[in-house]
Symmetry: C2
Subunit: 150 residues, 2 copies
DNA sequence: CTTGACCTTCCCACGATTGGAACCCTCATC
DNA sequence: GATGAGGGTTCCAATCGTGGGAAGGTCAAG
């Protein structure tokens, strides 16, 4: 199976399959005489696993952990659960931070007339944050991979 | 005022101040005889504006828009409101996507024994997603800048 | 044999930020 | 006046995941 077919079957682009190979996330693919990579259904299975984990917001480093657990028949489900729970916590941190941003903006928008007059509370707030909005803390909220704008 | 003091006063790192200058987000700073950049309180004001907008999740390109509106006395507050609303919509898109991820993970975690046994529904789902989880759509959910893990 | 679709490797770009190297400037202290 | 610390300056590289493209080899159908 060529890389293009594996890409279509797994939902992982050919570009990314090659990238994952160079970074060591997946083992080097078999090669045919022509030099073409050759993928088995098992490989596609693994790629679908990766794709699904990406969709769930796991970072590649975490997928690396998940893959080794997946391959390890004597794994302990507690290990997997721990990774998933860490991921959930990361997601919740980010969701909270983003909600806060959205709420702040929303309250500013609510005050903004949105007409042709130049007075704008949004710009005013950007100039002089209303109450003690944190400047000092560089705002660390953990990390989780998210789909980018296409 | 040196760049270091401007950085401390604005919450924008010296590195980023120089970067913003090269990208044209901010005008070139005045130079002293020594070659040192020299910042006025007004400059610090602008940097705080940028910092605040970053904290609110605006992309640099959007801050560019906001800055021109900020500097433009004849700006229409409707323009500012439109940008803010777009930003809110982006945030909500991302929040929704992340909630979905977290919920899916949560339901998987709830099914996982989390003990020493190898059976793990989380890995099982990554292998074969339960119901028709969308593979085709490459998951596009808009974009908003977020603080990274430091 | 040609054509077009695929594959290969390699390099570049994005966005925002950080880090480092190599070098110059300023100030306080000895 | 010399010295050292701690600024400043420039330039270059790396991050992470992904896409784009060039230059060239392979394959199957017409």
């Amino acid at each position: 199976m060529n890389i293009g077919q594996a890409a279509k079957a797994s939902g992982v682009s050919a570009k990314m399959i090659r990238y994952y190979e160079t970074t060591g996330l997946i083992p080097k693919a078999e090669r045919r005489d022509s030099g073409y990579r050759d993928y088995s259904p098992a490989d596609v299975h693994m790629l679908r696993f990766i794709r699904r984990a990406r969709d769930l917001g796991f970072a590649v480093s975490e997928i690396d952990e998940l893959l080794s657990l997946w391959r390890d028949r004597s794994r302990q489900s507690a290990d997997v659960k721990r990774i998933a729970e860490r991921q959930i916590a990361d997601l919740h941190n980010r969701i909270t931070a983003m909600k806060q941003m959205a709420d702040t903006l929303q309250s500013l928008v609510a005050c903004c007339a949105g007409d042709e007059r130049p007075e704008c509370p949004i710009l005013a707030d950007l100039e002089e944050p209303a109450d003690g909005t944190e400047l000092p803390p560089p705002a660390s909220v953990g990390f989780a991979r998210l789909p980018n704008r296409q």
